[in-house]
Amino acid sequence: MSRPLAALFMRDLRLAVRVGGGAMTGIVFFLAVVTIVPFGVGPDMNLLARIGPAILWIGALLATLLGLDRLFQADADDGSLDLLMMGQTPLPLVVLAKAAAHWIATGLPLVIAAPVLGLLVNVPPEALGVVALTLAVGTPALSLIGAVGAALAVSLRRGGLLMAILVLPLTIPVLIFGVAATTAGIVGPLPFGQPFVVLLALSLFACVLGPVAAAAALRFGLE
């Protein structure tokens, strides 16, 4: 069972980094959002430090969702989805493998870039690790929740806009606890542990429920 999944995972990673893949789009968008905000907010270093974690998280959220509607649509367009559903591999695991490849290609670069971009929004140097850690724990949830929306978008032609409307509300808890954990880790006074553990729980929850829900949506979309 693992060989088909490994093959699918590697194929999606290859596609993401080849020409026309989506891996670079997310990171460039993230870069654009985070570098633009300090110009808009103005040279108030204290304000910037206070909203810095939120900017990084909002940037990461939008960058993850950008292009996520293609997760299954690209396979549906060229007929690959039919064959993916005809494999011996259970469909939820297929979804999980695709979401994992999506996270490695778009989520992980954000985690790696966040400490560098954190300097631009005046996040204290000792807190850069905290930002990266919360993003590393929280962004998988975004990929997995987004997979559900992407699966629904397949059955609705041109469902990209609808996907954003469906998925954004579901990602708000992740955003709230991600920013709360980051802020707690930087300035306190609340303990870092509590929101971080909830964030972790959200990711694990999405890891179990997301693939099952997305697989159900894909089956429902059969026509």
Binding site: A7, D82, G87, E223
Partner: protein
């Protein structure tokens, strides 16, 4: 004995009845050519057997197959779309499907048989329509499955490739496999005809 049995199949698409009360059976070693005018439900029938479209009424069963596995998991489906990624090379595409579909076949000999070995390292996006079709057919050789569902397999193929396809299909049937092909063209092998009615 390996046998595909369809009983009283009804398929509705978008509120329109495509076919109704369709029953047939095909045993191992038999080729069935599904014919009928446009819109008579040839493609729908193949997708329905593959499990890609739910049947509105009726059942499809595979006797003598793996009772644990769905029919789709024991079938090859070659639809109108070739399911290849243009940015991956020919060999990478076929490697992936061979691994995903659980085939143990060698990729290079299959490509050579279909005359694509010199293109193995070319991105699939540069292939012509006929070459893409041949690449899709290469999947049939690298992953062994007892039931083949081919939708217009001869489309875009030149005369030599059609002969090759006929030989590949004949081998599959001779090995005890079941073949269902929806096409207007002569298949090139002995096949029983299953004629679907005119579109209502």
């Amino acid at each position: 004995m390996f046998r595909l049995v369809a009983t009283d199949l009804t398929c509705r698409r978008g509120g329109r009845t495509v076919f109704h009360g369709l029953s047939f059976a095909a045993s191992g070693g038999e080729a069935v050519q599904v014919t009928g005018p446009n819109g008579s439900g040839k493609s729908s029938l193949l997708r329905l057997i593959a499990g890609l479209v739910p049947a509105d009424e009726g059942t499809v069963a595979l006797e003598g197959g793996d009772p644990e596995a769905a029919i789709g998991e024991q079938a090859h489906y070659c639809g109108h779309q070739d399911a290849f990624k243009p940015s991956l090379t020919v060999a990478e595409n076929l490697d992936f499907w061979t691994a995903f579909l659980g085939g143990g076949g060698e990729v290079r000999p299959a490509l050579a048989r279909l005359g694509l070995d010199h293109l193995a390292d070319l991105p699939a996006g540069y292939l012509s329509a006929g070459q893409r079709r041949r690449l899709a057919l290469a999947r049939l050789l690298t992953a062994k499955r007892p039931l083949w569902l081919l939708d217009e397999p001869t489309a875009a193929l030149d005369a030599a490739s059609q002969k090759l396809l006929a030989a590949i299909m004949a081998e599959h049937v001779a090995a005890g496999g079941v073949l269902l092909a929806a096409t207007h063209m002569p298949l090139g092998i002995a096949a029983r005809e299953l004629a679907l009615g005119a579109a209502p």
